[in-house]
């Protein structure tokens, strides 16, 4: 009997339909990947584009009168450096006569210029006694103008920099007395109200300390909880209840953990407000469910035959777990931890509730000192009106991303090291 469908040839109608469906599906997948890559590339280029300016800053060179009349060599710290800076500006540009003009002139340099001058003299007292040409930071508006973020065109009243100031800057520029240098301050100082002085270090240290606390709490607690629940606890109604609760906790909005931290850690225990200790504790609460769920999944993935082998040898349950099961599950523990830590690193909301949103200038040196964190710093800068904070915001995001990538690299290296095939 000949069956009309017994043919091995291409191009049959029902086969074409199946092949087309397969092609369509594959193309949808490819388009999805392409779209997500495009979005990623778009995000990264825009951040780098906006943030690249923050690695450089503008300095101006002025001739400062450091005669004994202005600075007493016996009392270097006592001198009024603000006055010296102002008089240096005035002598450089004697055309600034009116009060308003003088004010605009003084606004060319950073409010920190006097301190920078003092620090240079303290570092090298030989400068004293004569007129010296030294570099100090320009103000953020000058910096923005030099980087082209403030337009020279348009009505004067619409600009942050007026015509007089542009004239002075051009004069300085012609005399090579204005330059862009690498912005070391961005990486070595804390936050500031003045964008040209604001740095990322205090937030970076705050984040690092918080994460350290978070890791120290959530890794051991999470792993031990997972091991107990998976390997030792009897499966009954209570363990089901605990499991449901852990899964629910993972979905609780992070700000709720912040509220908990505020009411328990700060108000009941009286722990220091704004400190990385409390920040880390709150982040640990948030990270714990993630770690527990991932660790349990990875324990479940260890073949039961390994447990049977060890128990059959007369290993006790604890020996079985720690000699055989946990080492095999370790890569999974690390994956869960890194996912949780990465989440914690990017978390802002719970930190707002415990006061880590404060304006922190000093670099925290312990987990008990007030600190802020990278995402909070980004939020604060993004909220600031000055144009110069825009590039700081993007630069801070870059720092955050680099931090994240470094963390991931460490975790992946560790995971590779401990991965065992079985």
């Amino acid at each position: 009997m000949t069956n009309p469908t017994t043919s091995f040839l291409k191009g049959q109608k029902h086969l074409n339909r199946r092949h087309n469906a397969e092609q369509r599906f594959q193309w949808m997948g490819r388009i999805a990947i392409a779209l997500s890559l495009i979005f990623l590339a778009f995000m990264i280029t825009s951040i780098i584009w906006q943030g690249k300016g923050a690695v450089s800053t503008t300095k101006v060179m002025l001739a400062f009168d450091l005669s004994a009349q202005m600075v007493d060599p016996e009392n270097i710290k006592g001198a009024s450096y603000e006055k010296i800076v102002k008089s240096a500006l005035r002598s450089q540009f004697p055309n600034a006569k009116k009060r308003k003009q003088k004010k605009a002139l003084y606004a060319l340099v950073s409010s920190d210029a006097g301190f920078q001058l003092r620090d240079q003299i303290l570092a090298n007292p030989a400068l004293l006694g004569a007129e010296q040409t030294l570099w100090v930071s320009a103000s953020d508006d000058v910096d923005m103008l030099m980087k082209g973020h403030i337009s020279r065109a348009g009505a004067q009243s619409d600009r942050r920099v007026n015509d007089d100031q542009i004239g002075w800057i051009d004069t300085l520029s012609d005399e090579d007395a204005i330059k862009r240098v690498f912005n070391i301050g961005f990486f070595t100082s804390g936050d500031s109200r003045e964008p040209e002085l604001a740095g990322i270090l205090s937030a970076l240290v705050g984040s690092a300390l918080s994460l350290l606390v978070c890791f120290a709490l959530s890794f051991p607690i999470g792993i031990l909880a997972a091991i107990y629940l998976e390997e030792f606890a009897k499966k009954n109604r209570w363990s089901d209840l605990i499991e449901i609760n852990i899964n629910n906790l993972a979905a609780v909005p992070s700000i709720v953990f912040g509220l908990l931290g505020l009411s328990i850690f700060l108000n009941v225990f009286g722990l220091p407000r704004s400190s990385p200790l409390v920040g880390g504790m709150v982040l640990a609460l948030m990270t714990l469910p993630t770690i527990i769920i991932a660790a349990r999944a990875s324990l479940r993935a260890v073949p039961p035959s390994i447990r049977e082998a060890a128990l059959g040898m007369g290993a006790s349950p604890v020996q079985t777990t720690f000699h055989h099961v946990a080492p095999l599950a370790l890569p999974g523990f690390l994956t869960g931890t890194i996912v949780g830590m990465a989440q914690a690193l990017g978390e802002t909301a719970p930190l707002l509730m415990i006061g880590m949103v404060a304006f922190i200038v000093d670099i925290p040196s312990s987990i008990l000192e007030p600190a802020t964190a990278l995402p909070v710093q980004i939020f604060l800068w993004a909220d600031s009106p000055e144009r110069a904070f825009l590039e700081k915001t993007s630069a801070a995001i870059i720092v955050l991303l680099i931090f994240l990538v470094l963390m991931n690299i460490i975790a992946i290296t560790l995971r590779k090291k401990y991965e065992t095939r079985f």
Partner: protein, 254 residues
Amino acid sequence: MQKTPLISAKDVDVFYAKKQALDKITLDIPEHKVTSLIGPSGCGKTTFLRCINRMNDLVDICRVAGEIKIMGQDIYAPEVDVVALRANVGMVFQKPNPFPKSIFDNVAYGPKIHGLAKTKGDMEEMVEWSLRKAGLWEEVKDRLAETGTGLSGGQQQRLCIARAIAVKPKVILMDEPCSALDPIATAIIEELIDELRKKFTIIIVTHSMQQAARVSQRTAFFHMGILVESGATKSLFTAPQDERTQNYITGRIG
């Protein structure tokens, strides 16, 4: 039976939750003999095997009633330490399950946790002895540091046997040890089992009646949770007393 049995089970019932898996099993197992447990799938032979070293304790819903005595001690008595029991009743599983560690560490693990080796030399000796007994020494002596999971299936199973005998148990339980192996590897293991019974008492669960006939001196036939018949292998295979045994060994059921 000329001697007192090494293991004697009396009225053993096993329940998984409400379901009864074994019903009143009474069986004596003599020392230095190979006893095979045969029967169709789901008849309870593996369940009975796992009662002997209390591996069923691991199953939350499993409940064992009755009495199993090994050398006169009731192993389900509350004062029994199951760790000590399992050190004396070793087990080899259906699927070779070496630890993902080196060959040496696989064998050395038991002596290490039970504190059997005082020095490094003792340990090396013990590992060599076990691997020789398991007939694996010649094949692996130059690569003891390599991982045990890299061996072939038959070698892995012999490694598991070496690992089990390294702690010098009284009894070795084998749960279909050859079901994942090819005929050549199976033949090697069967030879090994015959050799091992000089030192150990072996209980083997097997699906293959030929294997039971080849390796064991005594056989017990299980069917639907009851022990139908047990006795000397030869007589059970040549002159079964029960009709169900007859049907099973001639291939009519199972």
